[in-house]
């Protein structure tokens, strides 16, 4: 059982993601996480401002339960199934990040420059996280899905719209990291 404390290899991880999708399909649901963001907006009363949020959110309680599970899963994985949460990055990646000002890349699970608890007093980090989060939420709803709904569920079902969306994900990600990161960091 030692292996469980190590980072899971890609083939185990990929299989487990497909298993999660399979289980959700077999209980009559589907695998798509960003829909929860819309549901939470509706619960918070967004229906008073836009018709897009006027729907029966209770029909989506199952997916909120999945997300609650994902929170608990993160806790279990970090507390009980991980000894050292380091990431074995390609040394080229570490060197690239160093030139951008990210120190000791991979020695923590997330970069301290963006995710250490001291960033709550750092305006730049907060602004970057806000912009990033905003675009994730806006873009996922505009595209009608995120990595789970399009890249996994949609492509598994040979949906052309999902292929277009995933190509968009990569165009956006590549522009951000190669053209915009040098301006930001």
């Amino acid at each position: 059982m030692e292996w469980i404390y190590e980072p899971w290899p890609w083939y185990v991880s990929g299989f487990m993601i497909a298993l999660v999708m399979f289980l959700l399909i077999m209980v009559g649901k589907n695998f798509g996480m960003s829909g929860n963001l819309r549901t939470i907006c509706t619960i918070c009363g967004a229906g008073n401002k836009a018709d897009f949020f006027k729907f029966d959110w209770k029909a989506q309680r199952w997916n909120l339960t999945v997300i609650l599970g994902a929170i608990i899963g993160g806790f279990i994985a970090h507390q009980f199934l991980t000894v050292e949460a380091t990431i074995a990055l390609n040394p080229d990646t570490v060197a690239n990040l160093q030139t951008l000002g990210f120190e000791n890349a991979g020695e923590t699970y997330l970069p301290n420059e963006l995710f250490s608890s001291t960033i709550f007093t750092d305006a730049k980090s907060i602004i970057l996280l806000v912009i990033g989060g905003f675009l994730v939420g806006f873009g996922a709803r505009y595209a009608g899905g995120c990595t789970s709904g399009h890249a996994i569920s949609g492509l598994s079902n040979f949906q052309l719209p999902s292929l277009i969306a995933v190509i968009g994900f990569f165009i956006g990600g590549l522009i951000m990291i190669h053209l915009i990161f040098p301006l930001l960091f």
Binding site: L37, R38, A143
Partner: protein, 138 residues
């Protein structure tokens, strides 16, 4: 009640997978867009391989759900603009925040409190999309 417990367990498996696969790590997303490692491509590729096989088998053999209901795969609405434009905006955010809408909740559970900023901002982004929906090309 029993079904709720099943959804919760599936979510827990998903959360553990996101954390242990390192797909929830900002670094892995950066590395993927640098084409420096096979890891993320391997994860997505393996998930797709098993995903395609699963869905094709379910469709071909008209497999019923665990609750003996028919399984439908509603086709996605045909369009180009919303998928490419929304996709690019999502990609910007994915690379910058290093988290997509599943893993951001996993990271919350793992105790990375700054991810709360990302989650709240993603709710705001979803809300603003709802306000602007009719003005955007779809």
């Amino acid at each position: 009640m029993k079904r709720t417990l099943i959804y919760l367990l599936i979510g827990i498996v998903f959360g553990i997978t996101m954390f242990k696969s390192e797909a929830a790590s900002w670094y892995r997303i950066y590395e993927m867009f640098q084409f420096d490692a096979f890891h993320m491509y391997g994860i997505i590729g393996t998930a797709l391989f098993f995903g395609v096989v699963t869905i094709q088998l379910i469709k071909h053999f008209k497999i019923k759900s665990f609750y003996k209901e028919e399984i439908h795969f509603p086709p996605k609405q045909k369009s180009f603009a919303r998928y490419i434009l929304g996709g690019i905006l999502f990609g910007f955010g994915w690379a910058l925040a290093g988290a997509c809408p599943g893993p951001m909740f996993t990271l919350l559970g793992a105790g990375f409190l700054p991810i709360i900023i990302v989650i709240v901002a993603s709710l705001l982004g979803t809300f603003v999309y709802g306000l602007l929906k009719d003005k955007l090309p779809h």
